[in-house]
């Protein structure tokens, strides 16, 4: 009798030991999106789309290492095992060796033909699989990619317009969907959106537009260390912060994105866990650098940077920001060693303005285009009003052109000299920027070649020295030299105080104590595979 009991107990224990990687429950998440992000391959709805409908269902050739919280997330091999510029190509041709044995959720194989088919899908208008909706989300992520071809079944060669040492970062945004699934569903991307097939750690079971997306573990995932522990993950669109908070407190979801700062004490009181971490986000003012703008004087730019009480602003946000000292935060590999220390020093700010010829009767007039809400904009109205008080306190005459988020985005498609800005009389803009990779952090925002419509250098900053530094970073194929070059770029930008740097968001999310094993990476993207539900 006892022997049998012992055997049963041992068997139970064995089962308990063997199965924790599986049957770990269902995670229910309240997203800020108002609809399910695009599921066909290239997600919409910004990086929240990539987070939930991108790297969950799909892989890129180059993935992000999201396993650590204490260092900045960096790229690592994904569907490609290695990559290198082709010798003698001046860094304009790259070979990507593809991972063998990778299967799509529909059981078909991933190979070089799939890569070419997917690049045609977003970059070749003439291809039958071309999808303008996916193209809209991805073309600007690979601005230098101009050619792609199969070398052999597991090798592709990609060609760039110019030498671009940072090209592997660009390839982290291109995700690979199954050509077989597209064929099977009548070559109709609308149908594929309801039954997508990728190679990622989660497969899609059901998409109910505007209601939810149901994902489940893909047991055949190629990276055995990242096979999801969860059985299922349910994603609910909940654009209203109060709804997300209530849903979490009522136990209808286990995790919410971006809780409102004023709801955090209540969430903590309800036993919820608030998780935050630094990540590549920058909330700043991008000034006009055209003739006649007060911002062309470095003393004015430095004065504005010294006028802002970031600690006070952080208090207003309930501690959910990092006080900014540049494009990236201190401790970031690209921070470098700037000599200009961005801090709160109103007396120094007043002195600089006086040196620049400004005073009580002649204040520098600044008018900033801001939004009422928007992706990554944090709490734009109270934050901007707070900064306005700070700036005016040292002698600026600050006003705003307030617009809705979509309008501000459209507004930014023209540079400061365009009709929209000229009509509004603005000389600065407040759009938060993702600084995930070197192109998005520096090239598109500070390089003189990237004035809209080509990029996002809205203020038409033209500094040959900075251009040279950025070009050098993009031509540095050695990794440590590349990091050093990027740190030099950053130090120079901070020393010139080219923007008014104010805050980095802390990426808050609230979750039930039942959620275990989550590591919040320093990234816009997160890895859901290690999570279990207690």
């Amino acid at each position: 009798m006892f022997k049998r009991l012992r055997l049963a107990a041992a068997a139970s224990l064995l089962v308990a030991i063997v199965t924790p990687a599986f049957s770990q429950g269902t995670l229910r998440i309240g997203m800020t999106a108002a609809d399910i992000p695009q599921t066909t391959g290239q997600p919409d709805q910004g990086f929240e789309g990539y987070r939930f409908a991108g790297y969950t269902i799909y892989d890129a050739l180059v993935n992000w290492d999201l396993s650590k919280a204490d260092t900045l997330a960096d790229i690592r091999p994904g569907l490609a095992t290695e990559w290198a510029p082709v010798e003698g190509s001046d860094g304009k041709r790259w070979t990507f060796k593809l991972r063998q044995g990778v299967k799509f959720h529909d059981g078909t194989d991933f190979d070089a033909d799939v890569v070419v088919w997917n690049l045609d899908k977003i970059l070749n208008d003439k291809s039958p699989q071309f999808d303008p909706k996916q193209a809209a989300q991805s073309r600007q992520r690979v601005p230098t990619l101009v050619g792609w071809k199969v070398i052999d079944k597991y090798t592709v060669e990609l060609t760039t317009r110019v030498a671009n040492a940072l090209f592997p970062y660009d390839m982290s945004y291109i995700l690979y969907s199954s050509p077989a699934q597209w064929e099977k569903l009548g070559k109709d991307w609308v149908k594929v959106a309801l039954q997508p097939s990728g190679t990622g750690p989660f497969k899609v079971d059901r998409v109910v537009p505007r209601e939810r997306m149901e994902l489940s573990r893909f047991d055949g995932y190629w990276d055995k260390a990242r096979v999801a522990k969860l059985d299922r993950m349910l994603l609910f669109p909940m654009p209203e912060a109060a709804t997300r908070t209530a849903a979490l407190l009522a136990g209808q979801v286990d995790w919410i994105e971006v809780p409102a700062p004023d709801a955090i004490p209540r969430l903590k009181q309800g036993g919820m866990v608030i998780v935050t971490n630094k990540y590549p986000h920058n909330w700043a003012y991008q000034p006009s650098m055209v003739e006649g703008s007060p911002w062309t004087d470095i003393r004015v730019r430095k004065a504005a940077n010294l006028a802002i009480d970031r600690a006070g602003l952080n208090k207003l946000l309930g501690g959910l920001m990092v006080e900014s000292k540049g494009v990236v935060y201190p401790g970031h590999p690209w921070f470098g060693s700037p000599t200009f220390d961005i801090k709160y020093d109103p007396e120094a700010a007043k002195k600089l303005l006086a040196e620049a010829g400004y005073g009580p009767n002649k204040k520098p007039k600044i008018k900033i285009a801001i939004s009422t809400s928007g992706s990554g904009q944090m709490l734009p109205l109270p934050m901007n009003e707070y900064v306005q008080e700070n700036l005016n306190a040292v002698g600026f005459d600050t006003s705003f052109e307030v617009m809705e988020w979509n309008t501000l985005v459209t507004f930014s498609f023209q540079p400061v000299t365009g009709d929209a800005s000229t009509k509004a009389g603005t000389n600065a803009i407040n759009i938060s920027r993702a600084t995930v990779d070197p192109y998005s952090a520096f090239m598109r925002l500070y390089h003189s070649d990237f004035v809209p419509p080509k990029g996002a250098n809205w203020g038409i900053l033209k500094d040959p020295k900075l251009d040279e530094l950025i070009n050098k970073a993009h031509a540095s194929f050695d990794r440590s030299a590349q990091t050093k070059a990027l740190a030099d770029v950053h130090a120079y930008i901070v020393d010139q105080a080219y923007w008014v740097y104010i805050a980095h968001d802390l990426n808050p999310r609230a979750m039930s104590p039942k959620v275990k094993g989550f590591v919040q990476a320093q990234s816009w993207f997160q890895d859901f595979t290690p999570i279990t539900m207690q």
């Binding site: 229910r28 108002a34 609809d35 695009q38 919409d44 910004g46 303008p132 909706k133 193209a135 809209a136 989300q137 073309r139 600007q140 601005p143 991307w189 609308v190 959106a193 059901r206 109910v208 537009p209 505007r210 209601e211 939810r212 349910l234 609910f236 669109p237 909940m238 654009p239 209203e240 109060a242 709804t243 209530a246 849903a247 407190l249 009522a250 136990g251 209808q252 309800g270 992706s375 617009m403 809705e404 988020w405 979509n406 309008t407 985005v409 459209t410 930014s412 498609f413 023209q414 759009i431 920027r433 998005s440 598109r444 809209p452 419509p453 080509k454 990029g455 996002a456």
Partner: protein
């Protein structure tokens, strides 16, 4: 009667055309454009221009309107820029969800309003009248989105009795008439019914009170009718006025409440419109508004016809 209904139906055509023109003009007058809503904020203008060309937004506005009208007349309504799904499918599913809430809110608001309004009109006690009037005043004054949040805090967060969001349980698809789904619609229904409850209570109270002061009511008393019989006569006489207001209120509810549906993440027309406005999803905006306008007009027509049945004195030429 049939001729009257037919004529009213024919009137719908120019009204629908006017609505479509107005919606198209308003949507294009607003700043922002549909393509900027589907590309990332750092997308180069070259890409935006290319997509505008692809979707036909580079054409002059009259051409765009003409193309949209042709597609709509063929019964297609086009596809959503945001999701790529057919507009008719999007609007159809959202409309079905909104109708469920609207019917619930109508039932709650109208039945309570008839009881409360009649009680207040009949009340000899000033306290009852004052109480009902106060309820009606609160109903028309309280912001329903605020009430929605309060309801969620009390009944979902604190008491844990009712779910705070969604159409139904997490594994269900669509709406069904069972307790788990009804639980999900209780709070949004209450929040949505507050305004029509206030408006209707005031209307019923004043109409019944006015009728009670008419001579024919005195004549009915003199004939020896009991209170119940007289009440039926009074209600029948009050019906045309109340029906007209009910029609308008029901129309508003069918239009969907953007705020209530957003607070409760209820995937109806309000939720759909809210998303479409922020994404500048013109086909969805135009399609939804046109369908809603059509239903609003149909509802008014139905109310007019019912009024004629209820009160034969209403002659239609």
């Amino acid at each position: 009667m049939l001729l009257y209904a037919l004529r009213r139906l024919i009137y719908l055509i120019p009204v629908a055309f006017g609505v479509s023109l107005l919606v198209f003009a308003l949507v294009h007058l607003a700043p922002g454009d549909p393509i900027s809503a589907i590309v990332p904020s750092d997308a180069p203008k070259e890409l935006v221009d290319k997509l505008k060309e692809y979707y036909g937004f580079d054409k002059p506005l009259p051409v765009q309107y003409g193309r949209w009208l042709l597609v709509t007349l063929s019964g297609d309504f086009g596809t959503s820029i945001g999701t790529g799904r057919p507009v008719l499918q999007e609007v159809g599913s959202a409309f079905g969800n909104t109708i469920i809430l609207a019917i619930g809110a109508c039932l709650v608001a109208f039945s309570l309003a008839i009881v409360l309004g009649t009680a207040a009109a009949y009340a000899k006690s000033r306290i009852v009248d004052r109480l009902v009037t106060s309820i009606a005043l609160v109903g028309v004054s309280v912001p329903h989105f605020w009430l929605a949040i309060v309801l969620v805090i009390v009944f979902s967060v604190e008491l844990g009795w009712l779910p705070p969001m969604g159409l139904g349980p997490e594994n269900a698809t669509g709406w069904r008439l069972d307790w788990p789904h009804i639980k999900h619609m209780i709070l949004p229904t209450i929040a949505l019914s507050v305004i029509p409850l206030g408006v209707m209570t005031r209307t019923v109270r004043s109409t019944v009170k006015e009728i009670l002061s008419m001579e024919f009511v005195t004549a009915l008393h003199a004939k020896g009718m009991n209170d119940r019989q007289i009440l039926l006569h009074v209600l029948k006489n009050a019906a045309p006025t109340c029906l007209a207001v009910m029609g308008l209120q029901a129309g508003n509810l069918i239009g969907g409440s953007i705020l209530i549906e957003t607070v409760f993440a209820w995937p109806g027309t309000g939720f759909l419109l809210n998303n479409a406005i922020f994404r500048r999803d013109l086909p969805i905006l135009q399609g939804t508004t046109l369908v809603l306008a059509f239903f609003f007009m149909m509802l008014n027509l139905t109310v007019d016809v019912i009024q004629t049945f209820v009160d034969p004195r209403i002659k239609r030429g």
